[in-house]
């Protein structure tokens, strides 16, 4: 039987609980199974700062579902899925977008970084990437004494020595 692959990007409210998220995934899978479909992957992207306010929410959580449906029943299955988001998960799902996906089996994609993934602490980010800070070296941030530099000539002292 020929199948058609689709993906659905779901934008939910930021206050969604783990139970609600699990229920959303379960019911999506159930709806698809009713129409002989199959859920391929279900990813949680995480929390995002939205480009504009949606239903008075500054933030939102994205979920990406990819699924196969038989080509003969695709319209019904997608209609059912949309009604699920519109009616049952009316309070949770703010927006969704169902789009066609190439049937070649490539499931990799690039996506923007969520707020949970972006490093908040500058020091930690620098440590992880083995970078040195731009403005203040680490010993100035804490109260540790500065490491003594050996073998370096102080330019001021050198000038004074020249004058003498």
């Amino acid at each position: 039987m020929q199948t058609q692959r689709y993906e659905a990007l779901i934008l939910t409210v930021p206050e969604i609980t783990n139970d609600e998220a699990a229920e959303l995934e379960k019911s999506v899978e159930k709806r698809l199974l009713e129409h002989n479909g199959k859920l391929v992957t279900y990813d949680r992207w995480g929390k995002f700062l939205l480009a504009y306010q949606v239903k008075k929410n500054e933030y939102g959580i994205y979920f990406l579902a990819r699924f196969d449906v038989p080509a003969t029943k695709k319209d019904e299955a997608i209609k059912e899925l949309k009604s699920l988001f519109d009616l049952k998960f009316n309070a949770v799902v703010m927006r969704y977008l169902v789009s066609n996906l190439a049937n070649d089996g490539v499931l990799t994609y690039k996506r923007p970084q969520s707020l949970e993934e972006t490093p908040k602490d500058v020091d930690q980010f620098l440590k992880e990437n083995k970078m040195s800070g731009l403005h203040r070296p680490s010993y100035q941030r804490s109260f540790e004494p500065a490491p003594k530099e050996v073998g370096k000539i102080d330019p001021i002292k050198e000038e004074q020595a020249d004058k003498e």
């Binding site: 990406l64 977008l97 690039k110 996506r111 923007p112």
Partner: protein, 93 residues
Amino acid sequence: MAKKIKLRMNDRLLKKRARRASFGLRKQCRFTENPELVGEIDYKNTDFLKQFLTERGKILASRISGTTCRYQRLVAREIKKARAMALLPYNRS
């Protein structure tokens, strides 16, 4: 009157031709140059699509970015999809 308009048109065309000549070669489309980039056009890949937006969040004209008509259509469609999902802004003030 008609003559005047014709003169103006000629003048404008001449100016346009001079402007083009002064810039030298025509701008190159980055997708026709390396076709691997076409796979990057996706509404989820917002970091890539941001290259085709102005500071205010408008879609960059193909006359400025040099994208050919075919790929400009693809890019514009994906940007509009990303806008609908609040991944990219409609306008940024």
